[in-house]
Subunit: 463 residues, 2 copies
Amino acid sequence: METTQVKTLFRETDKYIDKVVHMSGWVRKIRDQKNFGFIELNDGTFFKGVQVVFDTNLSNFEDVAKLTIASSIIVTGKVVKSQGGGQSFEVLASEVKVVQKADAAYPLQNKRHSYEFLREIAHLRSRTNTFSAVFRVRSVLSYAIHKFFQDQGFVYVHTPIITGSDAEGAGEMFRVTTLKLDKPPRKEDGTIDASQDFFGKETNLTVSGQLNGETFCAAFRNIYTFGPTFRAENSNTSRHAAEFWMIEPEIAFADLSADMELGEAMIKYIIRYVMEQCPEEMEFFSQFVEKGLFDKLNNVLNSEFGRVTYTEAVDILQKCGKKFEYPVQWGIDLQSEHERYLAEEHFKKPVFVTDYPKDIKAFYMKLNEDGKTVRAMDLLAPGIGEIIGGSQREDNLELLEKRMKEVGLHPEEYSFYLDLRRYGSFPHAGFGLGFERMLMYVTGMTNIRDVIPFPRTPKNALF
Amino acid sequence: METTQVKTLFRETDKYIDKVVHMSGWVRKIRDQKNFGFIELNDGTFFKGVQVVFDTNLSNFEDVAKLTIASSIIVTGKVVKSQGGGQSFEVLASEVKVVQKADAAYPLQNKRHSYEFLREIAHLRSRTNTFSAVFRVRSVLSYAIHKFFQDQGFVYVHTPIITGSDAEGAGEMFRVTTLKLDKPPRKEDGTIDASQDFFGKETNLTVSGQLNGETFCAAFRNIYTFGPTFRAENSNTSRHAAEFWMIEPEIAFADLSADMELGEAMIKYIIRYVMEQCPEEMEFFSQFVEKGLFDKLNNVLNSEFGRVTYTEAVDILQKCGKKFEYPVQWGIDLQSEHERYLAEEHFKKPVFVTDYPKDIKAFYMKLNEDGKTVRAMDLLAPGIGEIIGGSQREDNLELLEKRMKEVGLHPEEYSFYLDLRRYGSFPHAGFGLGFERMLMYVTGMTNIRDVIPFPRTPKNALF
């Protein structure tokens, strides 16, 4: 007999009323009376479980009544309209086959557990309401990103994870090696002989796929990356992980304005997609994780994102009369308190801040005619601050080389990147979206460790 | 004026005939006569380029006539039915704006280049026909995989890249470290003090997401991974890369038979999807890369995959009268020559070989009642040999622990994995698909270095 999934039962209930179904899954809750009992059966396909009613008609009633939480079972029974309040239907079991009675030491008994405790059992936490919601939304959000770009013909590019360059010096890196740490080969002068390493040189884990991505932009016009990136920063905060996923689109014959339009369209699309595909999960987050989540997200969906230059933003901050911990003056990197004031109190919606001072931005950003600002943009959103950061790229070979030298980079080490400016240079732009940051924004979860299946942080690489 | 993409022009030609369009892109070919000339304009959105005709009506005719290959231009012109043979339409330019005239040293002039040469300019090779086809198909094939699983409600899980365990000892691993190789901290006995490393212990790059994936299978029923995996094997062959992408689905309440059905459905779906979405690219591969490609792929699409046990397969090989380099007897690991004989000459279609001797398979595979074979399967396909490998998993705690000890693993190091057998164990199965291997199969490309944007192989981590 074919197995019916719980999701199907919920989505097409009418079709199944008074029909006999066959289901398999795990006991989430169980309570038994003298002659009958209830099991909440979760089969993994849906946020909610199905109520299974069993009674002494079962030949193995005693065994079923004594089942433990997490036990795996196969149920045959009739779907009927529910007598009770909350449920619209339940299943009257004619057979409950016990696949395995779970060990009673199962740590997820029916009580509230702290997120901290659940991180220590990350291999089991997806079986709780909160984490089943988080990780299903993670999956759907991933797909929304692919769908958004693929529907518009963007080419997905797998940029390398192991890299021989240090990209734009964007952060501390993990070294990747097959050398024996115990006794590495050394050159005559005593330094490590990296030429004997696997790749014949020193290699690290990537911090960004952008530079490689740009080479594909020069071939396919519109491209995106979506892959893991790494930071070896010893930051033990709720917003830093050593391993996280990033999305980096890059568009050709496009300026900063087109870049912002793309970012706005993407953010709206993926939020809407998750809200449509995961209504039960989003309802749960709204009730139990972040009050006001729907207001926050609907405000994003329904507003036209603001646009303001960095110089204007500094002016707003200086004149607003609010006292900030970090004083505001032209040239500073905006702090979280400034970003949130702009998005939450001044604009009251997501806002792009553009044209930052060149000295606080990366070398590859296009210099404005004023010679002191670059075509950069950060999107600041209420409730989180910066959510994406991007720029139009410097497409002038001479200016780019000059800028590299100014910041202490060696152009000859970036010859592949400079080639893009030699052979058919073109205006192009892109941005980076930290996937976990977006997921936190959509779910209301506040610690990055709680949106990554098996998070990697300083002193922690469990599982 | 809005930019029209080349893909749109080809797909909806009739709509644009006699209309003026605005396009941007790069010069792929150019030839000029005295008073007019032709440019093949490629804008990255489509495999083919558009023929642009220009003449002395252009104010900058002399400059345009002297454009170099790869130069970036913006063209305005009228779409007209073509007089010539090959093209169905062309664009009569009223304006050609030169964005940048490419340096004449551009290495991709119009002649055949060897794949070896093109690997050295991997940042430019996507601008050739072959590699634009390969990497567009790579993107579409990736999406086909996501779509196949997401449409059926599978949950996509990002398993960790940096891992503290050595998985199933599936291969040599890269070490990930922030210790100074020059002077690593040592314990009193002189050995490396890994507790001072970033994660407080020794960590490596993952070789498989399966074990982590199984934990999500126990929560979401049907899941898949799709991410980068690594092997530090010093193998310089056309089929080995140090960094490659892998897909690993895992399904709950499912046996080996369901696993094979899933594998067959997936392979057929993704091949069909690519053939439908990339007809021009596939036609190119069929003409220039692998003669008979369509026959090969259609045979996969139209056949019901075979099923044969390892024991039966050994019997077939022993009786076939063919002389193999490696003699066949029960217990050996099948070699490529055996696999290809079975798929190409005996079955003449893809065939699942099942129930391999336990000694040549991984510890986690479910032991058959005969006590000597396991519920493993390899899918062998004509023209390539093994393409996916999977198994039903051992779900019995005692048998699994016993097996781990037999192969020299320490069960206490796998307690998270064993927990899945303690708390609601359930029959489940899964498989692994090497993404690049599948891409090679679909495109006919024969070297893995030519299907990865920036391949990593021994002594090579360019770009």
